[in-house]
Amino acid sequence: MLESPKELSFEASKMALDSAGLTLKDIQSVVSGSAPDAFDGVHMKGEYYLDGMGAIGKPHERVYVGGGTGVFTPIGGWWNVASGMYDTVLCVAEEKMSPLHPHPQYAFWSIFDQILERPLGTTLLWIFSLEMRRYMHKYGIKEEEIAEVAVKNKGNAIDHPSAQLGAKITVNDVMNSEPICSPVKRLDVSPPSDGAAAVVLVSEKVAKKLTDEPVWLDGVGWTLDSTHWTNRDLAYPEYVEKAAKMAYKMAGIKNPRKEIDIAEPYDPFDYKELHHLEGLQLAGKGEAPKMTVDGVTQRDGDLPVCPSGGLLGVGNPIAAAGMMKICELFWQLRGEAGKRQVKKDARTGVAQAWGDLMQVGTVAVMRS
C-alpha cells in the first residue's frame, strides 16, 4: 500500500468512528496492536504511529502477543471498559510488512532463540511445516483434506473488497503449487500484506444510547504456552483450548459446537484453521478436516468458518488480519455482510488468533 503506518491507522480509525457515529473527542482511550517493529525498521513503533490512531492526549497502550495481537487488541479494549476505567475505547490494529527488504519473512528469523535456533538458518515456515507434519501424522490427515481450507477461503475472499488473493481454485491447484517448506506448498500459505482495521468498544450504557443493534463482546480469553516449543506436542494447540475455555466461561457457553453459529479462526496456513477449530472445541481432535470436506464450514454450512475469506484469501497484515476477523463477525452478526452473509441466522460468533512460537491463543466471543 502507498499509505504509511500512520495513514493506514487513520483510515481504519476513521471508518470505525464513522460506523459508530462518534468523533475522536468522544473517545477516552486508545488500544493499539501491531506485530514486530522489525517490519517497519522503527523502534518503539507504538509511539511512532499513535497520532494516526487519534491517541494524542489520550491514554494509549500497545498490546502485543505476536500473531495473536489482532484479536488481542479488542481484548485490550475490553479490559479498558470492563474495568470501569473508560467508557469509549478505539481499538486499532495496523501492520505494514512491505518496508522490510528483501522480504518481510526475514523479520521472523529474529523470533527464534538467538543461541540455539537462529544459527541453523531458521524461517517461520519451518515451524509451521513441522507442526503441520505432526498434525497430519498423529491423526492420519491427508494434504488434500487440508487443501480444502485454502480452496474455501480463497473462494470466500472473492466477495471481500479488500481481498488480496480471492480466487476460484481447486484442491489440485493447491497440491500442484510449488513446495516451499514441505509439506507446506505455495497455496497453503497466506501472503505478506499491509493493512489496518479498527473497532470502537463502549460500555453498556453508552452502547444503548448509540444503537439499537450493538454487537456485544461477551467473552475474552488468552493464554501463552512455554517458550520451549520443541518440547511440546505440536499436534494439538492446548493454548487455544485454554484461551477458548476462559472466553466461553465468561460468555456462559457450555457447549461451543451447539452454541456458536459462526467462527473466524486464524488461518495463516490452511491446516491452522483446522488445528484452531479443534482447539476452539468446535471439532474433535483430528476431526476438523472431515468437517471441512463435508462442507460444514462453508458459508451455507452448519458452522460457517472464515466467511470473510480469512488470511488465506483476504491477506495477512498480521495484527490487522486478526482485527479483520472481529470486523467480519460484527458485520455477520448484524446481517450486514452483503454477499458474504452466511445463510444461517448467526447470533453468536467466535474469533481467534494465534502467534509466537506456536504458543499464543487469543479468543473473543461476540453476540448480537
Partner: protein, 384 residues
C-alpha cells in the same frame, strides 16, 4: 467506592552495570521468585494474569513475549506484553483485577542493556523514519538538549539548577544498595563534564543498567488475606503527546500533566504538594526532574529549579524527590524504569528504605517517561 489495588509483593534482581552470568530469563526467574516469596503466593496456582513490559529492539528478539512465560510461572496462563513503561503495565494489571478476570496479577519489566551493543543507534531508530531519522546522524539525545534549552528559556530557570538535580540524586544513591551511579560531586563537576547534547552534559544524563523487577498486585479483598505489608495503588494515569516532535511544546511535559490529572482525580487529590510525603519522578535527564515536578503540580511553573537548589527536594526537605537516587543515581532501566521508581516508593512506604528512609512516609507519587523521542508517561499515587 475509592479505587484501590494492593501491591502485595515485590522482587528484583540485578541492579548492576552488567549481569554477564545470567541470561535475561534467569535474571527474571530470580526477581520473580523473590516477589512470589514476598507475596506468599504460588504463581502456578494463584495468579490469573501476567503482564510484561518490553520492547523488541531492546531485547534483540521479535515478539519478546515468546520468551517470558516459563521463568514467571506463567506457562499456559494469560500472559501478554504491553510495549510500554512498567507503570502502564501496572495500570493494565489494575484493569485486569478491576474487570474481575484476576484476583492476583503479576507485572514484570527488565533491562538487559548490557546485551545491547549499539543502544544509541537503536534509540535513534525510534525517530520518525522519514522526517527525522533520515536527516539527523546525531546522538539521539539531541532532542533532550533541545527540550532542556526550551525549558530553561521559557521558565527562566538557571542552568546550574539542573546540575543540582544530578548532585542531589547521585548523592542519595550512595546510600541505596541498588545505586550503581552514586557519587559525591558538586555542580561545577556536573556542568563541566562532557557535553552530551548541549546544554545537557554526560553527568546529567542517566546511564543504563541491568535489572528485572516483578510486582504482585491483588484486589483489595485478596490483598487483605495476603500479609500485612500491602501498599495501595490509589490512582493511576498515563498519556501520550504527539509523536511529531516538531509539533510539541518542548518546554512542557504535557503528557505528565494529563497523566497526573487522571491519577489525581482517581485518588481524589486536590493539592498534591501538600498531600504527598515523597515522590520518585522522571530524572532520565537532569532537567526532566524539574519539568516533571512542575507538570505534576509539585512545584509552581518555573520554580522547581530554585526549590531543588534550596534543598526543598532533599531527603530531609519539604518533599523528598528521588530519595532513592533516581535514574541519575541508581541507573536507567529502559521500560522497567517506572517499576524501579515504584519499587523505591514501596520500600519507603513499608519503612524498608534503610538509610534513605523518609520518616513516617505514608503517601507517595511515582512518575515515568518512556524516553527519547517519546512524549509518553505515566503516574501512580501510592499509599499505606
Amino acid at each position: 467506592m475509592p479505587f484501590q489495588i494492593g501491591i502485595v509483593g515485590v522482587g528484583y534482581a540485578g541492579f548492576d552495570s552488567m549481569t554477564p552470568g545470567l541470561s535475561t530469563r534467569e535474571l527474571m526467574f530470580e526477581a520473580a521468585t523473590r516477589a512470589y516469596e514476598d507475596a506468599g503466593i504460588d504463581p502456578r496456582k494463584d495468579v490469573q494474569s501476567f503482564v510484561c513490559c518490553t520492547e523488541d529492539f531492546w531485547e534483540g528478539i521479535s515478539i519478546t513475549d515468546e520468551y517470558m512465560p516459563d521463568q514467571l510461572g506463567a506457562v499456559l496462563r494469560p500472559l501478554c506484553t504491553i510495549s510500554s513503561d512498567g507503570i502502564i503495565g501496572l495500570a493494565t494489571a489494575c484493569m485486569h483485577i478491576m474487570s474481575g478476570i484476576a484476583d492476583v496479577a503479576v507485572v514484570e519489566s527488565h533491562s538487559k542493556i548490557s546485551d545491547v551493543v549499539n543502544p544509541d543507534e537503536i534509540a535513534s531508530f525510534a525517530y520518525d523514519p522519514v522526517y527525522t531519522h533520515h536527516h539527523f546522524d546525531a546522538d539521539p539525545r539531541f532532542l533532550a538538549g533541545m527540550e532542556m534549552a526550551r525549558y530553561l528559556k521559557e521558565t527562566g530557570t538557571k542552568r546550574e539548577y539542573c546540575a543540582q538535580v544530578a548532585v542531589k540524586n547521585k548523592k542519595n544513591a550512595l546510600s541505596n544498595p541498588r545505586g550503581v551511579h552514586g557519587a559525591n560531586i558538586d555542580k561545577g563537576i556536573v556542568m563541566n563534564s562532557q557535553v552530551a547534547a548541549s546544554p545537557l552534559t554526560e553527568l546529567e544524563s542517566s546511564k543504563g543498567i541491568d535489572a528485572s523487577i516483578v510486582f504482585v498486585l491483588a484486589s483489595a479483598q485478596k490483598a487483605r488475606k495476603l500479609g500485612d505489608h500491602t501498599v495501595w495503588i490509589k490512582g493511576i494515569g498515563w498519556s501520550s503527546d504527539t509523536p511529531v516532535v516538531e509539533d510539541r511544546d518542548l518546554a512542557r511535559a504535557e503528557y505528565v500533566e494529563q497523566a497526573a490529572g487522571r491519577a489525581y482525580k482517581m485518588a481524589n487529590i486536590r493539592s498534591p504538594a501538600s498531600y504527598l510525603d515523597l515522590a520518585e519522578v522522571d530524572d532520565t535527564y537532569s532537567y526532566k526532574e524539574l519539568q516533571s515536578l512542575e507538570a505534576l503540580k509539585l512545584a509552581t511553573k518555573g520554580k522547581a529549579g530554585k526549590m531543588v537548589d534550596a534543598g526543598a527536594f532533599d531527603i530531609d526537605g519539604r518533599l523528598p524527590v528521588n530519595a532513592s537516587g533516581g535514574s541519575l543515581g541508581v541507573g536507567h532501566l529502559l521500560e522497567a524504569t517506572g517499576l524501579h521508581r515504584t519499587l523505591e516508593a514501596v520500600m519507603q512506604l513499608r519503612g524498608q528504605a534503610g538509610r534513605l528512609q523518609v520518616p513516617s512516609a505514608k503517601r507517595a507519587l511515582v512518575q515515568s517517561w518512556r524516553g527519547i523521542p517519546t512524549a509518553t508517561g505515566a503516574v501512580a499515587v501510592l499509599g499505606n
